[in-house]
Point group: C2
Chain length 345, copies 2
């Protein structure tokens, strides 16, 4: 079952039984806006502060994913969840009411890949029939956490990405797990057939306004490692989809892979590039945040796997592992990327 | 293999093949000081800032645990690691050089329990022969993250705990995994026979100077759930060891359990209470931080399991899931606790 240095191919692929995407207003106005399950028109979600609003995104995405899978919260064995905020407060306050055992995760914007990988291992290993993998991000909490107060109105570099407001959640189920009585479940969306787990990769970039460049080497390494471990290449995939490299990071990724003999120009897609119309929406290099790849996965990628448009996809959320403290101390911005192989059923 | 709502009993217990504790100077001056593998006399560890010092603690603990297990870094399949800092910067920068696939975790001071649980599941599930579970905390990085600048010299409430400077790491190995050629491995220290995973528990406490009280309900819930799931009680354990409740939290935990008919007064131990001589060292209610339970585990608990002083222990690191942002926004301090059953071989 272990394959190569960092990959696993599951003997019995896991099913993605339900998925939900809850997006913010700006995301709803983008090219994928019509695909999201919910587009919140109030980015405060009726809460008193941005962090509580982000928690609310998680709450709604979790409830909807569980409902769409025809399940109750009590049917979920473990939550694998995270967000971008210090001490994961969006997650801690967002998922409390579910009363489900929680593994809190931090992989920056790669966290959806991390959560899906661990949830798949937990289900495949027999530790639970069904697990929920979910993440969130919110433009306003992320700006407050990583950059400037919104009211300051700072000018953004062309290489910056726009942190997506949104939360995506998937219910991962073992094959052959008996159906739960009660509500009618939607058919499974896709299966998870394998994972490749990323390591921390640091090319020494120090510009936190250019996270695409900082994360591209990590995405490169995970994709390259995946090809080595499974003896595959880009021709084995209909799409290889990174999380939030944006236009700057995409160029670097394609260059790095080309040097190793892989031509991803026809199969590469980046969730951050898809999420917004950057010209019209002033998002510069693209979208980012763990919510970015998660809502694009749930609203756009999984349905295309379900209807057979794509047969096999490598989903590779990418994260930049810095904080304001490390940045202010002159440290570089290392990256990490976690790959998940998704297949048409 | 699944037992009850939140527990797993492994069909084939996992071995703790190596463990390492790297402690700070103050921890070295406490009652357990003579037991740590390394006591750093310079809390800066020769680095330029506290965060780099904390990364250094992780680097040294990881290297030592791997060495004591008779292994090389390349023999470790996955790292499960975390720390208390926003965006886990101690971990990201500390473990980069190992070049091992990383799952970054955040469970506040419960993270060692979370890391050991996931590492045990990963090994038991067949996804890797050996994984490393590790965490760190550092008094100075935590004060900066959560409280006041050290130079401000604020007065600390009697209910506060002292964040431990230290990092603990354990190598978890599957039973029957072939020995690696080369260096002589020390014999395994103990085995992991089961886990109970905590959920977020919030009794509504808002005092971040009294984290013992905030975490006690989570510790209570995990221990109570463990007893229900496995049909056990305190008489099945030589010790039930929480992470960092301190003296205030201990009283609350024992009261809560007594109300449910469990008398833990004879078997309960708290790593935070053991780590310092609070009168002499001015640490008030005890030690805290994810490093606290981790170094007490590696230096004190595991050796007692190895020599048979204790036959079976429930190790329950406890975490307070707040941040300065959530605190300043008037939120409560929810808790979480993850249980790991450790047994004499």
């Amino acid at each position: 079952m272990q394959k190569g240095k960092a990959s696993v191919v599951f003997d019995h692929p896991l099913l993605i039984r339900g998925a939900a995407s809850v997006a913010g207003k700006k995301e709803g106005q983008g090219p994928l806006g019509h695909l999201f399950d919910v587009v919140e028109q109030d980015d405060m979600l009726g809460q008193d502060n941005w962090e509580a609003a982000e928690s609310c995104l998680q709450k709604r995405a979790a409830a909807l994913a569980i409902q769409k899978a025809g399940l109750k919260a009590g049917d979920i064995r473990y939550l694998f969840a995270g967000d971008l905020l210090g001490q994961l407060i969006a997650t801690s306050f967002g998922l409390m009411e579910l009363e489900i055992p929680l593994f809190g995760l931090y992989g920056a914007c790669s966290t959806m890949g991390e959560a899906m990988s661990l949830a798949a291992m937990a289900v495949d290993g027999g530790y639970g029939d069904r697990c929920l993998a979910m993440v969130s991000s919110h433009f306003a909490t992320a700006e407050k956490q990583f950059r400037f107060p919104l009211g300051y109105g700072n000018q953004r570099a062309s290489s910056t990405t726009w942190t997506a407001t949104g939360s995506g959640a998937v219910v991962i189920e073992g094959e052959g797990v008996p159906e739960k009585a009660g509500e009618q479940a939607t058919p499974p969306l896709a299966r998870i057939s394998g994972i490749t787990t990323g390591k921390v990769v640091d090319f020494g970039l120090k510009d936190s306004s250019n996270m695409g460049a900082a994360m591209a080497p990590a995405a490169f390494h995970t994709i390259w490692q995946h090809f080595q471990d499974l003896e595959r290449d880009e021709k084995d995939y209909d799409k290889i989809i990174t999380g939030d490299l944006g236009t700057v990071g995409q160029t670097i990724l394609l260059d790095l892979l080309a040097k190793e003999g892989y031509d991803l120009s026809q199969v590469h897609m980046d969730c951050g590039i898809e999420l917004y119309d950057s010209e019209r929406q002033d998002t510069h290099a693209g979208g980012s945040g763990c919510g970015c790849s998660a809502i694009v996965l749930c609203a756009y990628i999984l349905p295309r796997l379900q209807d057979g448009t794509w047969k096999r996809v490598l989903f590779v959320p990418t994260g930049a592992l810095h904080s304001t403290v490390s940045y202010n101390e002159g440290q570089s911005v290392p990256g990490i990327a976690h790959g998940v192989v998704l297949e048409h059923l």
